[in-house]
Symmetry: D2
Subunit: 350 residues, 4 copies
């Protein structure tokens, strides 16, 4: 592949997307490969997914599988935001900083209005104050809100926080989207139900992430309001995101949400994150930057420790977006020994 | 998945995208899953792909793997076509009729100028006559040409035809793209080399298809001219087509182009196509609509025969785009018995 | 101004846009300049325009003045056509050939599906046959129809022709737009009412042209169906077409449609066109290419006559779009003597 | 005209766009109307404009007249900003808050990265710190900078401030645009030359405003770097901003920049602004919010004074964008008596 400049090259704890797929997901792909099947999502696995997700969310939902989280976010937002619309989001949000302008591309030029928030979360109050200009032809128009769960600092929105933000959005007739790239990690962190964390708290559309937590390339756009689906089927096709052999994306999702695979994976990743966070916090010169509430740990290291870790093969840079905090991410396949090894390496640093 | 209306539901011979992946490709995915790896195409498999494709094409090429053929086409065209640019193509071309306007979306509003061609192919002469208005501010500007190989009628462009069309394109300072969704099928049909069928015949950018011929979801945009690469890396990311676990797309391509897997698969599919075509042509009331030059057979059936086939479980409709001709497609996994069975079923029709 | 390449440089009869504004329109601008006024179309002249146009069209219409015909067309079409939509139009239509892709820009990538028509007009039959693929996710979606009145060959659609085309459009749930750049010329040619030539014949949205027939820069988008207005106010502003001192555009339109100015101007231009056409048709070696039904004359000249005219200062090229026919256009300010002079010049050619 | 909701309806001092055109400009329009002329900016007035602006700016510049300031800004920015590009600007800038997303529309989805600035101006330091992520595929790419002169708080950038900001822009290989909607007002305020305030201070492209200071509808995009012109001619046409009777826009600009009309108008407007500001500042309970450096006065009034003014026919609201400050704008046609009257009215308030 052509050399695309990316932010860094490091493996263990670099991100949860360095991990491969879990065995259950791989098995599902192999099984789906048996025999011919109708293309473009009209196969039995894909159509059945509709029901399975509806069960999980305790509501009839409408599901569109995709292979890409960025596409899921941007497509979801494009059904809720006209070309002259405002999307309110945290200034550090993935849609604002890490998708190379995908929401702007898919909405035909929408504007991301960024909020400062408190740490990684936006607040209902700041959102409320930011929304204005409705109906005035000179101004881009308030259209939608997007929050990230787990958010970009590793914190998890509490149910009442989501509810308050949704209430403000709906008060202004905006729709609200949740970027759930780490949906399962947030869910098990809050020990709540998918329904409670989404539509029961006011969420209208969800990007349901699965790639980071055990799939190869599988996400789902989930609509809790049918009227928001709009023309997304055409927009997906038009963007090249309606894969012909869609059954293989659907098969991943099917295996992922069956038999608690997703919850088990997420619980494990969170546990490893916690273990890592606890270990780091024992060092006086390492400061945990944000509460470790899921599988991501943000910590400020002294320069010598970073250099030592890098000299030992870890590839960690200081994060631009989070000031001086380094991000370490545990995945579904992180082992106790992996955490121990990193902590041991740190001990030998001085 | 939500109900997306699609053209038809039928399995055997419906298309080559109803087939799953071949064993070599599946094995590669399993193997790639072993251990963590750098995301976004900076893993060893993805970077090595650059060299492997360069070998195959006997030239240093620049390769961008994608999971979607529509995306490959539209992204490729977007590097060669400004928002006010003309893309010259056959009126039946996939980019014009079957991608829901993806080239228009990715170019920001480019215009597909359609040519009538002779059967499924455009001609150098018609292209030459159609190009005009260059530099005149009132007119959309001639920018690029796209041909499909194997083309939409199952015919294969001969090398001298490609060369003549490329010459016209280059004479007018346009770049030329090949939609190679069935690249391997054309290649083995012509019994030529990848280099001969592309850059040696003037092609500037290729959408290299692999999904239909044995992969799950893997295509590649291949640039023969470095200066055309432009900003495609940003555009891919922006469109949600830079998958985080890109290694799994690359692994499919790697296996596909190794050990002649792709050529073997294509030869078999073409052979099955030929067998089917020969069998059909023995019926006086069935008319082969276009020469069967690869793995696609277009034939006009009497209505009673179609009804009989459908009653026996085949799901075939009359094709809109090709007048009254039904399209039957053989795939890498079509068996001799599959062809025999269809032909036998026909014999019992009257 | 920077050198923009344009098609030709010639003055008399080159186009009706080489003429300036008529006295009534200029007076209205001077009068509107007296005193301060509310900007952005909220001045009394602009708001009153709504009523004046409603009277003229015998129906409550919604009017958006603009300074540009291309903008009027593209904005009108953008309210009726999604980014993945088809606009059906004549292959020679101004929106397809002379607006540098404005409809594609404003719709976010819509597709102009071109019809061959008979001479310069599309037919209801060809339109009906061309519309297809509705609801199928692979295909761009039938959305709107646009006809030009006076059309690009100088012919005028008859009322029953408009009605038949509108009926087909509505049968397929498409909306229909009329590009009325020479609306007045068509109107007086048909000797009918504005209502009959538009909404009573099924037209949904009109680009009402005034610039060519006596204004400086003034057009109007006129909606006959309120529900089609959509977000056009935001789109206009967003495109920079909501002028701050809009009153001066509105003042032109006000004067233009008052006291039969527009009808008088158009009748005169048509009369001069007829006189020119009649004069030309007396030459055996000049062939009138299309019926002269308004103020445009299309004629095939022998090369020596063109050269003679050019040597005498006329600047006329062979028209690309109309094969070998030269277009000569009479305007509101064309004098009998202008026509006589051209005809005399021709007589002296051999 | 259809009811477009706008922010407020008030006349005197509401904005400088409530004024009509000055006599010299009107005369020029009348004069330009005499005789036929080549359309689309190929008339003598338009072509000569190129030289006249080059003289004024002491450099060969490339000029594109437009009828709209929003279009001038967005078109200018679109030549310097790809669809995935960042435009750095003040959070209160007109392009960010008052053009309904025009820059996003014309760039195909660019991102406005907003700076807090100090009062109404951005600073070189904040700009420098904000630029990042260059070459990293996940991030939108730093592309251009835009400053407004006179800025949105009525302050004027000093030459050294412009120079420092330009230096930062160029250090990062960004191009820099000046929104000069009130260019003349800034120029006479600084008592400098057009060259000094633009390219000699590093500006690459200018939106030269004329509408607010004595024209009907006339602005100009002025390129100081030829290589930035790019495809703007096509983009203008495509957006419907290449008017057919362009000579009338050019004639306005011609008269405006001839015989010091523009400077005289601006000096007068600034003088009236100063007089108003001085008068207001004599009230203890009125606070001038920003230094009055050109023709705009921002002042915080006690509620009872606003109510009194409104009861006397002034239509002033508290400005959203500037907190609690009311904006009062003097124009080229503001009379001493207008200022006296407002101040007298205030005296009678208590």
């Amino acid at each position: 592949m052509a050399k695309i400049k990316i932010k860094r090259e490091r493996i263990k704890f670099a991100s949860d997307n360095v991990a491969g797929a879990c065995p259950e997901v791989l098995d599902a792909i192999l099984k789906a490969n048996d025999g011919d099947s109708t293309p473009y999502g009209n196969d039995p696995i894909s159509t059945e997914l509709q029901n399975k997700f509806s069960e999980i969310f305790e509501k009839e939902v409408i599901v569109f599988p995709t292979a890409s989280g960025t596409a899921a976010n941007a497509l979801a937002l494009s059904t809720m935001t006209p070309s002259y619309g405002n999307i309110y989001c945290h200034k550090m949000s993935h849609i604002n900083t890490d998708e190379c302008g995908a929401p702007e591309f898919y909405t035909g030029g929408g504007k991301l209005v960024t909020l400062n928030g408190i740490m990684g979360k936006i607040t209902a109050e700041e959102l409320d104050e930011s929304i204005g200009g409705k109906g005035i032809v000179h101004h881009t128009q308030p259209s939608s809100v997007s929050i990230t769960q787990v958010c970009e600092t590793g914190e998890v929105y509490q149910l009442d926080e989501i509810k308050k933000i949704s209430d403000v959005a709906h008060k202004h007739n905006l729709n609200i989207h949740m970027d759930g790239a780490r949906f399962a990690n947030a869910l098990v962190s809050l020990d709540t139900t998918p329904a409670e964390m989404t539509w029961k708290s006011g969420i209208d559309v969800l990007s349901f992430g699965a790639t980071k937590n055990g799939c190869l390339a599988a996400e789902a756009i989930i609509f809790f309001k049918k009227e928001l689906v709009g023309d997304i089927a055409f927009l997906m096709k038009r963007a090249g995101h309606l894969l012909s052999k869609m059954r293989f994306v659907s098969a991943q999702l099917d295996a992922y949400i069956s038999n608690d695979v997703w919850l088990r994976n997420a619980k494990h990743a969170n546990k490893m994150g916690k273990k890592l966070s606890d270990g780091l916090s024992k060092h006086n010169d390492i400061k945990i930057a944000y509460p470790t509430e899921a599988n991501e740990v943000f910590a400020k290291f002294p320069r010598n420790k970073i250099e030592h870790l890098n000299s030992e093969g870890y590839k960690m840079n200081e994060e631009e977006l989070n000031g001086k905090a380094v991000r370490l991410v545990a995945a579904w396949n992180t082992k106790d020994g992996d955490v121990d090894q990193l902590l041991d390496t740190l001990k030998n640093s001085n």
